[in-house]
Assembly symmetry: D2
Homo-oligomer: 293 residues x 4
């Protein structure tokens, strides 16, 4: 397939490489030029300009947040000049922006698919992403070969632009909740003389297996939150997307409210550049641990 790809960050570059490996032609563009060179070395074609990307049949974008999606993609002139028939937006953005984007694309006759993913860089590299997809069924079917090149499984979630997005937001909310629960539990046990590492080993080897508890449990065990894979402010951004979506749909989310405060507490105490696992430290600090005996 003739694919345009926008956003060659840590996730974007290996996704492009996997598309190429699967036999697709990929024209790439990135705001800064270095990643473009790297992708060309992987076999991609330089689109020359943002508008150049939109000459491909299908455009995929993998940008960071609402602000960059709005700045780069929601541009009437750009969309008016596009030859592309469908845009697959893989960013984790707000429900409101997903709806707005789908409407704007419709006015230009371009199909719109939401497709955020679960998985970090190494998962993207292995082509093992879980892809959360929503949009018109015919479009999902059309782009499935592309999803198959990048992920181990596609999860169809509905025919609107918002379902995949809200599901991704919910998944991240659940990861944040797991971190917070571990942080509170670790402070509670530490205050009673149990090594948090023993708690983590027990849980991850019994009732809480899986990547989330293992990765963040080990951070908490070692009290090591650097280098950051996903920084505290990014986590706060996603928690806030959940709160805003809950606000719009009138869904109380008390855990999300607590998370918001603990993330703010973390940032106020200098943890903005640490991995969001560092939110567990808030519980220790509030309990004033360790204490002298």
């Amino acid at each position: 397939m003739d694919v345009g790809f926008i956003g060659l960050g840590g996730m974007g570059r290996p996704m492009v490489a996997n598309l190429i490996r699967a036999g697709h032609t990929v024209r790439v563009w990135n705001r800064s030029p270095e990643p473009v060179k790297a992708s060309i070395a992987d076999g991609a074609v330089d689109a020359g300009s943002l508008a150049g990307v939109w000459q491909a049949d299908v455009v995929i974008s993998m940008l960071a947040d609402d602000a960059s999606v709005r700045a780069v993609l929601l541009d009437d002139a750009l969309l008016a000049g596009a030859r592309s028939s469908v845009h697959v937006n893989m960013a984790t953005i707000s429900v409101a922006l997903a709806r707005e984007a789908a409407e704007l694309h419709a006015t230009h006759g371009i199909g719109y698919v939401s497709a955020p993913v679960l998985g970090r860089i190494e998962v993207a590299t292995a082509g093992k992403l879980n892809i959360l997809a929503s949009g018109p069924a015919s479009l999902l079917e059309r782009v499935e070969p592309l999803f198959a090149a990048m992920g181990q499984r596609t999860w169809p979630l509905g025919d609107g632009p918002e379902q995949a997005v809200i599901t991704k937001i919910s998944a991240n909310f659940m990861i944040a909740s797991a971190i917070e629960a571990m942080g509170e539990a670790a402070a509670l046990t530490e205050a009673h003389g149990v090594d948090p590492g023993a708690l983590v080993d027990l849980l991850t080897n019994s009732i809480f297996p899986g990547v989330v508890y293992t990765v963040y449990g080990n951070m908490i065990k070692d009290r090591r939150y650097e280098p950051a894979n996903f920084r505290v402010p990014l986590g706060l951004k996603d928690v806030t997307l959940g709160l805003t979506a809950g606000f719009d749909a009138r869904v109380p989310m008390p855990f999300a409210g607590i998370l918001r405060d603990h993330f703010l507490d973390a940032i106020a105490h200098g943890d903005a550049d640490r991995d969001w696992g560092a939110v567990a430290e808030v519980s220790r600090r509030r309990a004033n641990l360790p204490r002298e005996s």
Copy 2:
């Protein structure tokens, strides 16, 4: 080994059977007589009386909560007449009661081990429990053959009576937090047109594998909370044990505070006899789902 066993409920009976299978002699007692007969059929010996149990070398008890432990076991006359050298208390009780029990046993020259477990009846039956143990190292070593007969792994957590107990309380707090997080996430996605079942399938097949998310996720997916494996008030009891332990050690636990309120909300609305997975319904009710379009 010559073992006395008190408490032949759903968990106790298979634990006794596994001890017998491993070659131990087990004298049993239970408040109501029927379970005694069942265990005798499994090969146990009728201790005849509560005092009879305490003639064994090692006494194991598996009772429901603080009230029953206090009523059955914290009895000066009983302990004074005991020949047993160690008591392994496998109930999930409060930190305060664990300390009090250890002190009382010490005045009677009886060793005390805390050993609550992770795992439900079928896990107990399979002899695959995870056993959380704390107490003097020499005692843990002595009773390890008994643990090995009942569980797949023993997790040593410290030399006091409280560490195993607080770790079990923390594990249950984390299960409750996982249920609540799923409940909020399911309400949020449902309000945006995503089938909660799709959310559950996605999560349990990707970042949240394991028994907790699978069991409670499926309850939420089917909105079926009966028959109850673990009723809402029992969950509230354990959340309260966590709050009390946090109170005593001055550890704020905001997630536990939210859980407490949602469990109360569930009970106030008639869910006292449902499985604690039913707490997820509180989020739906607060959002007034489903709504007519």
Copy 3:
């Protein structure tokens, strides 16, 4: 003084009348025409157009929220054509918008004062408002005669556009907190057989005198939340302004988080058109009161 006045709602009209009574000339404009006629009957001058207002020395605006301030006032062409030297914005808006507005005015050489008020319509009519003011000291001094005509006291809070706004947001957060605390207390006492009216009478006649506890206490006592003086969604708007300001300054606000959820719960259950005192009903509903005995 030569004054332009924008926004002749329930608050604006009596404020204009008081300015006229104090001898000022007031040119008025309103989006809908009827209120203009009413103010003219009070002695105001028809400004003819929005631009006409900005020919006055001082412009006062009293609009509802961020959206209307942005739509009506943040207009480059309008400000470029203004002869006014200072704009007194009396709306309760976000900190971010107050800053943005001050900057835009500065580029047009127009001074900017934030001056939200405490007091409802009858207080405005009596000229007894408490005026929260921030902005350059020289400007506050200049417009003080206008404040004196409308209020009983001006509270100077700083020299920037944000201080008066954040103080008003904080005051409304405290009112919302008082309502919520009364709601929880009333549910708790009702569940124990105490008439909520007795609680309200006791408190308002002893440790909690003053308008807030009296007005909302009486609503709770009578369970009568209509007609609404200040509807639930407006209260939610102000709580959200507080949360957003806390977010920007990294200030955790757990009470505000609870308020947000209870306001959403109220709206989800059909209370959008009731007075924000109706948030107290959320506590009753969560406790499933009244219960049959």
Copy 4:
């Protein structure tokens, strides 16, 4: 009337003095002897022993908490030897203990009245307490002359032992909520450059008059929480009484949950000997205020 009085602390002594001033005979007892001498100097009679107090017609007790009420008053032998016909318990105790106490008194044929008060030492001295009373109507009528001697007004709240107690607990919960709301608001405004003193002055002179906002507002303004009138752990005790009463009656109380955590946070950070107004500092600490610019 012939009155026995137990508990001559800061509150008890002036209450006794006012009873004497009104013409009543008061036999006093206190655990430590010094306060007895002081009350004798005020005109009281030394009861000689705790049993001696119970020879009076009416016994009034003013003790600190559940533990001291249980230790001093819930004594079968003591009550069996009593000639008194009614006991007025003015302590703030748990709902459960109030019920237990009323039952125990009934088995000894002694009437029981709950009568906690609102007001600090200077209010007690002035005989201006607000007395919250519940119990059988005939008993309330009988002891009203005693209430009239100590208070400015009696608030009858029901015919059981629990209503006055739950109302007092609710009032203290509302005071704690007011402190917390002020603390969060002060942190929010301080982070935006507003002097918390300006916020306090504004509020206490407008919408939040009265002793609670004034006393605690001034503590927050001056950041001075010593000497303590009511220490943080006592406040936490009362918040916990509210949570427990809510638990028993299945009433969610999210504000109380937040309060609990902030009180624990305060104590964990060394504020156990400061006035409970110091809980406001938790919000400042969590926001890491003041910050260097």
